[in-house]
């Protein structure tokens, strides 16, 4: 809207209508979870789409969640696993991407292809081998086991995206650094990383959600009480015969909050990166 000459009202309206429709569709399941988490069990089944009213409002789900099991601990575990995995994915992914995009060496293309394979082959196919490995190294039931797996899972996409971006960073700038005596590490951390920050934020957002939501690896590698993650913790309310829906919905609502916070942090970075690049 800043530029009147390039936008017309009908076009803007149409674009907004499409975006709003999509937003409503995308947010609808989240919305249903959150409103039902605040209702009594009867109301959840009677009128699942109704907003909580004076008679139907109830915090019983949240009470159950906070009493049963150690949910603050589960949250902490999820947070540690997600944040540490993300840091590793970004750090090692960016380093590998820099090596692949910056240096000419034998096997460069092959290494790139090998890493790209990881995008196409799901890591879950190797679950049995991973479990054996973790048992052998004594890492079962530790958060570190999860961190290692998620780091491996996230690196291929990170390398793929970041290598493309790093190719666009001016060679002259890196060479100026070399002539001024900066080490390759300084060039990487001080010159290249800030310039690919938007890409780093994109990778962070894409890698974060699957890690936070994963149930598979916590169930297999770290099911013990002290290292449970939120998604695994919430499973205690899902029984084969009885399911405490209040508690399930409440725990899911709570699980959204940290993801939201992380997302806000990264998307601010993302937007800042984009605008600082555009204005130059």
């Amino acid at each position: 809207m800043a530029n009147r000459a390039r936008t017309s009202l009908p076009r803007t309206a149409a674009a907004h209508a499409i975006l709003l429709t999509y937003t409503v569709i995308a947010l609808f399941p989240v919305f249903v979870i959150v409103i039902n988490a605040l209702k009594t069990r009867r109301a959840i089944f009677g009128h699942p789409l109704q907003l909580p009213g004076p008679e139907t409002f109830s915090l019983v789900g949240f009470q159950t969640v906070l009493q049963q099991g150690d949910f603050p601990l589960y949250f902490w575990n999820s947070l540690v696993v997600t944040v540490v995995s993300l840091v590793f994915v970004l750090l090692f992914g960016a380093m590998a991407a820099f090596a692949l995009s910056e240096y000419r060496f034998r096997g460069n293309t092959l290494t790139g292809l090998y890493l790209a394979l990881g995008i196409m082959i799901p890591i879950r196919l190797g679950t049995v081998a991973i479990l054996q490995l973790m048992v052998a190294t004594g890492l079962v039931n530790t958060l570190f086991a999860l961190i290692l797996v998620y780091t491996a899972q996230g690196i291929p996409l990170a390398v793929f995206i970041l290598a493309e971006f790093m190719k666009t960073v001016s060679d002259d700038l890196k060479n100026a650094g070399r002539i001024d005596g900066l080490s390759e590490y300084r060039i990487f951390f001080r010159l290249v990383i800030p310039l690919v920050r938007p890409a780093m934020a994109t990778v962070a957002v894409f890698s974060m959600i699957p890690i936070w939501n994963d149930l598979w690896f916590p169930l297999i590698l770290a099911p013990a009480e002290s290292v449970k993650t939120v998604t695994l913790g919430a499973q205690i309310f899902l029984g084969q015969f009885v399911t405490d829906w209040n508690a399930v919905l409440a725990s899911l609502s709570l699980a959204i909050i940290p993801v939201l916070v992380l997302y806000l942090i990264f998307s601010r970075q993302l937007i800042r990166g984009i605008t600082s690049g555009a204005v130059k």
Partner: protein
Amino acid sequence: MGALNLSNVQKSFGPVDVIKGVDLEVADGEFCVFVGPSGCGKSTLLRMIAGLEDVTSGEVRIDGAKVNLTPPSKREIAMVFQSYALYPHLTVRDNMGLALKQAGEAKAEIAEAVARASGMLSLEPLLERRPSELSGGQRQRVAIGRAIVRKPKLFLFDEPLSNLDAALRVHTRIEIARLHRELKATMIYVTHDQVEAMTLADRIVVLNAGRVAQVGAPMELYNDPANTFVAGFIGSPQMNFLKASALGETGETLGIRPEHLEISREAGRIPGTISHVEHLGGETNVYINTDVHGLLTVRLFGEHRFEVAEVVHLTPDASRQFLFDAAGERIRV
């Protein structure tokens, strides 16, 4: 301090030979310009001198010491890039001081060197700004300032002016010439603009497809080209190449500069019709179609009236013509 010596320097990227054996001596304090068409390897050669690109074979010596394996920061060189390449996260002051800081100089000395360099280029009002807050011309001055601060043995410039507009280019060119006089440092300057080459250089190295076509002072190359490549490359508008046999001369090609072709409406050795006339005020360029020699250019000083499709006659000035053999090498008589 600051002599450069290249002996049989070669560079290949995989199977592609880019520099095919260059021998060159640059004396201390000399202003040496590399020119040549795009892709002939000027930047590659400069980057090899800087140490940013490995030398495939041959030797690079600075002040007599072989530096083939010396990292760029230890070669006591400074480089100015076409794209400025300023550090975006540092202020102008820190951009200029970074190399000395990396070398572990004392704060007071860095401040003094930055002050001296920014004084020479009138950069004082800009010192606290970041590169994003500068215009293109100011950025290039900062990049030159950053090079001066280091007091290098050798200044390397890779087309530093080609991102600037015409007026600024002239201005900065004069500034670089002044810096060369004041600093008395050795400078190696890559450009494909022959005006820059002619006006700045003590000596020009003309490169063609990875080889040195000729080395010499600007006027030497202009008045005494060694081959058709140099003859055609130096001078604008380009030299005319005529068929020597048709004019009763030895050799394959007769080269004559546009200003040394005489044009007349009455009589002359080569008849032709005017196909186009360019009026530039100070000079007039006339393009003439001939049957035997193709399109020829005549350069006249001052304003002249010629009409398209007029029939004219051309006569080369025999004392200013050059003869070349079939391989394009000069035949000297």
